[in-house]
């Protein structure tokens, strides 16, 4: 892991077009500003991991299709 010290308003550049800038730091955390090309997705790690896990569970659950279909039909029929 590359470790660098940055002060407020200083940045690091990653590859072609990705910039991570320290906007503010304090006791509660560090506020970062990230600039990246449109095709690069930027996410908070814990949120990304949650979605990864949800997708894996959904792929496994696709085998329950018939039960799910019955359930959703019941729901869609409600006013």
């Amino acid at each position: 892991m590359l470790v660098v010290t940055r002060k407020r308003d200083e940045a690091i550049v990653i590859g072609d077009g990705i910039e991570v800038r320290v906007l503010r730091h304090g006791r509660d955390g560090v506020r970062l500003g990230i600039t990246a090309p449109a095709h690069v997705a930027v996410h908070r790690q814990e949120v990304y991991e949650t979605i990864r896990a949800a997708n894996a569970a959904a792929a496994a659950a696709a085998m329950h299709a018939p039960t799910l279909v019955e359930h959703l039909r019941g729901r869609a029929g409600k006013p």
Partner: protein, 142 residues
Amino acid sequence: MSMTVATVSETDPTDSKAEPLVVDFPSGIPGFETCHRFVLVSSPELAPMACLRALDPPEASFLTVDPRLLDPSYDLTLREFERARIGAGDEPLLWLAIVTVTEGEASANLRAPIVINPGRMTGCQFIRDEADYPVRYPLGRA
């Protein structure tokens, strides 16, 4: 390329044996980053859901549903850079929420919808960081 276009235009949409169109997911989806080509399969047996199936290994399948069916006020707006990722301007897009079952509880992921641009046949799973839509929107017991 012209061969592909000709094949598509000659396909009768009412022919159930027709090959479904392939949607390109340039980044895959979280956890399935190697899956770039998907087909969306609808059938009377699955309705109101549709099956989003990866053509690339591990060939994962996902049951999906229109999020507006679950929450009529579901926000269908993307930020400009998100629309750019699927090559979209102002045209209407296809929104899908992934359905899952864990421990007998069915739920839909309203936090990370799949959005497909039908004009470009390009899709992406977006994560709504600011929105308070749940990852597990309950559908009740399956």
